[in-house]
Symmetry: C2
Subunit: 603 residues, 2 copies
């Protein structure tokens, strides 16, 4: 694979109507935070609207993109200052790439990568720094990012917080670095950033911050080119994925992961047991601690930011799934269940959990404690198996914290609406408020082909209730592998669900975007309406299907009512009349007496 | 327009994998209720799965479809028995079709249509029959339909009801005709069925029944062929629309409505003020009671089943919208607001409300009291203008009931999640539990192009809280006119939202379908999984994108994990082991002691 083939496939260039900016943090010129700014029509008399931006350098027209060189190492100097030891790193073995024959081998990414190891340092993880009262550069960066670059609380922030329903979350009017530190120290938030992933743009996952979303990518039997996977990554973050999980299996996964990490500005998560299983030829019973441990170190040195570890699937839990309609639907969960059964032993992940912590702490790899027993159907929701595992995850969370690790907890799955809140409440209680990271949940099982929507409903609700990150579901769920279009649909669906959750929680800045787009809508600033939306391209295309002419982009009507009659137009006339003199107010007063009373027959 | 052009465009034939059946009501061989049955793979050992079916004769391969003849007049004999007077009916005038020149005139539908008028009869509306303790054939038909043809309560119905959260709704384990009568008599449900729409298959709208959905169609400047509109109708009900609103404007609307009504098995709703406005050349100030009254009679004689009447937009309410971000976004609402302002008078709809009731009672046209002041943005949700109008709608509901009319109430709109329940609670209180019929609501404003999803979230929630019918929103909302694909996407999105609501309410039969599809999923019955879903075509296409071979339709794996490793397969192995002897149970018991206690370091 050459740089050319890569460059040929990766999507670059600004998102329509917006431009990339880097805002220096006041007092910290060394910390510049990327945002996206949408320039509005002059008639709006509004400054450019600033948006949170996950897309990295790929949307910056002046930034040279060369996947062979990888992204700028944003954190290098910060990490340098912490004096972590450099190691030559573990040698790549044939098994790491699934024993692929040389002819089929995807070459490793040539981007330079020095392997750091914090073993002997007192503070390695963001959790350890936070506990020690130290505010890291990552915390400052992420705090500024959460505020969308605002210098202080926006007007009406307090009112909006009061107006929302946060279910016990305590969102601040304005996010300070100290607030970020305190949230991480309390275990209520994580800042996933492996010390071997200097390219990452720091971000926060916690219920007192903006709700985040994750997109899954990964090669398969069908596709195994690094170019395609990096393109999927770039495509997913372009539309708003806050983190990306690489669920690759099969051949070349080590080298493909290399290309992904060196070129990813967002935290990357993996499920190490998938690669470990490949190393033992796909036979779960052949798994053991040694091969798993080796895989953890391999991926940690590459720079993976969080690992899904299914240590909560204990031998005792497996029989609890026997009467389920859909049994165990998590791959990792079923791998471990099969291992436990075939050896009739307690899970080696559970027994070696402290060893796992020691490895992950060394590189600041965050835990994503996997819910291997999540329900795979409405019928199995909130059952004994699911909650037994959740209790175990709560125990493991405390162990990981004691070891200095950052932790989040994975959640379901398939859950009808009336059983969603119980999941959030139990997770908060069982896991000491560690961030919850859920897959959906899907609120019904009857819509294959539309599960981005059945799950988007559950995602918006559980995000409102307190889930910190929502793992997207694409239209292909249960049916096949998502293509580019599916990835985009999944990401946009989850961005709107996360935003709906922020609005309902009363996030002080969330509604600014809704209000901006609503003003644009009311004032017929069509381009502004498109560009302020989550997907300007699709909005514009839909509009142009009926009204293609450029003139219609400023027309004071739309295709729904047509030029002859438009409710927005009339509302504007009404407003003018209302503003003209106070006649309307008098009129209102006059009629309000009559307005409230019971219906009177016409005179 | 000829029969040929019609037949050429209307979609007929069974939905893949299912066949149409007509089940005779026990003891009433004269009443046969249509359902759709999905035949399952022999390995399932399950009887065909029966589904509620809105598609009418169009999905019955043996039913001859000739749009010129219209549909069979299912209710003719029942109506005959009620002895309503036949009238020659109002003469069609040039204004009815927007003064279209003869060359452009769409001919009226040649299907025979006798106009009935119940003026002198003591009982005309379903509400009047219900109040008098009389169970109509329509009630029997609809009751049997709500039970999906079940002869009695399904197994576990009571348990499922108990398991759900119905927020004060009282769903029965089994729906009897007497229960239907009582709900209609209490005003908690309506059975929209104009005595001049004998083709309609009776259905119920009420919070103690299955949640229903409405799809909007309607011609515009761009399209004005009856063929296209009838095709949109047939397309919408094919995928599950329970009612359809014809929002046509412009020329030929009278004759196009004729074609729609004679060929519609579902209730048709309209907004008469749209046509009235056309009759006065589009100038709202020229509207008056006479032209509106004439339009009501015109459409009632054609057979429209419910009218949206914006009688709650009172002069006193208009100034309350002046400070809104998006003002008045309802077309009907802004028409009436403009009328009130230009004449500086109380709304003629409000002043003539009793006259309107008298006309609508005569034909049993149900009221859909329009929310002309619904919020058009999150910023305007739950404001003074919206709730002032809702109070007025409550007053008008009682007037309409006193006049013997059936009534439902329209609701928002744009509402963030945390403000949705207040809408439902206020509506129930203000309108005496009359059925609520909402548009979405959209839970955020930032996703133009995806508002079927932003609103599907709100629709599922408010349906759970008690809304009886959900008006769909398509991906083109705010941007353009929906095409066939948009109509289907909107309908499927709302069907899954309505079903998610039924599940959460604990509807005794709702989960049967989820469980059936989950069993099919777990047992790798791919065809059954597709066919039991809301959209078999799309599910099958998505699956075949990655695994096209026929063999894969029975393969014990899917493209997500591939043949080498599949969680479902492992779960089945686990189940077999679990069923083999009681070893697993012992094991479980042994470990459960350890399972609960706090983490112990590995031995």
């Amino acid at each position: 694979m050459t740089a050319q083939t890569e460059l040929a496939t990766v999507t670059t260039g600004p998102i329509p109507g917006s431009c990339k900016i880097y805002a220096a943090v006041p007092g910290r010129p060394d910390i510049a935070v990327p945002f996206r700014e949408v320039a509005l029509h002059p008639s709006a008399n509004e400054p450019p609207f600033r948006l949170y931006d996950t897309s990295g350098p790929y949307t910056d027209p002046v930034e040279p993109i060369d996947l062979n060189q990888g992204l700028p190492k944003l954190r290098a100097a910060w990490l340098e200052g912490r004096g972590f030891g450099r190691t030559s790193g573990r040698l790549v073995q044939p098994a790491d790439n699934g024993f692929v024959p040389d002819a089929r081998l995807v070459p490793p990414c040539p981007a330079p990568h020095a392997v750091l190891n914090g073993q002997d340092k007192p503070f390695v993880t963001q959790y350890e720094f936070a506990r020690a009262g130290i505010v890291t550069e990552e915390m400052i960066f992420a705090a500024y990012r959460e505020n969308l670059g605002r210098a202080q609380a926006v007007e009406g922030a307090a009112a909006r917080l009061k107006d929302g329903e946060s279910f016990g979350a305590s969102l601040p009017e304005f996010v300070t670095p100290e607030f970020v530190r305190a949230e991480i120290a309390a275990g209520r938030a994580i800042l996933p950033a492996n010390i071997n992933h200097p390219e990452v743009e720091p971000m926060l996952i916690g219920r007192n911050f903006l709700v985040k979303i994750n997109a899954n990518i990964g090669n398969s039997a069908v596709t195994s080119s690094a170019a395609e996977e990096v393109d999927k990554l770039v495509w997913a973050i372009r539309w708003g994925a806050d983190t990306v999980m690489d669920l690759s299996t099969g051949r070349n996964i080590h080298n493909i992961r290399d290309w992904i990490l060196r070129n990813s500005p967002v935290p990357i998560g993996t499920v190490p047991i998938y690669q470990a299983l490949e190393k033992v030829g796909g036979d779960a019973s052949k798994l053991d601690w040694e091969v798993f441990k080796d895989t953890l170190i391999e991926q940690a040195e590459q720079g993976v930011d969080y690992f899904t570890i299914h240590a909560g699937v204990r031998l005792a839990h497996v029989p609890l799934t026997a009467k389920r309609v859909t049994g165990i639907v998590s791959r990792g969960g079923s791998i471990m269940a099969q291992w436990c059964l075939s050896h009739h032993r307690e899970s080696f992940l559970y027994e070696h959990f402290e060893d796992i912590c020691d490895i992950m702490r060394r590189y600041d790899v965050s835990f994503s404690l996997g819910d291997g027993l999540r329900p795979g159907s409405n019928a199995d929701a909130n059952d004994e198996a699911q909650f037994a595992e959740l209790e175990t995850l709560g125990q493991l969370t405390r162990v990981a914290w004691a070891k200095g690790c950052q932790v989040m907890i994975e959640g379901p799955g398939h859950v009808p609406m009336h059983k969603i809140k119980a999941n959030m409440d139990k997770q908060l209680a069982a896991c000491g408020e560690a961030p919850f990271y859920t897959l959906g949940p899907l609120t019904t099982d009857i819509a294959p082909g539309y599960d981005h929507i059945t799950s988007g409903i559950g995602a918006a609700m559980i995000g409102w209730f307190g889930t910190a990150m929502l793992c997207y579901v694409t239209p292909k769920e249960h049916l096949g592998l998502p293509n580019r279009a599916d990835v985009k649909t999944g990401v946009i669906t989850y961005k709107l669900a996360a935003h709906a959750a922020d609005l309902a929680k009363g996030h002080p800045a969330a509604r600014l975007r809704d209000d901006a787009i609503s003003r644009a809508r009311f004032e017929f600033r069509w381009e502004d309406q498109f560009n302020l939306g989550l997907d300007p391209d699709t909005a514009r295309d839909f509009h142009d299907e009926t009204l293609p002419k450029e003139a219609h982009k400023t027309a004071h009507f739309c295709s729904m009512c047509g030029p002859k009659f438009c409710s927005m137009k009339i509302s504007q006339d009404i407003r003018e009349q209302a503003q003209r003199a106070d006649g309307m107010q008098k009129m209102s007063a006059a009629f309000n007496q009559g307005g409230g009373e019971i219906y009177v027959t016409k005179s």
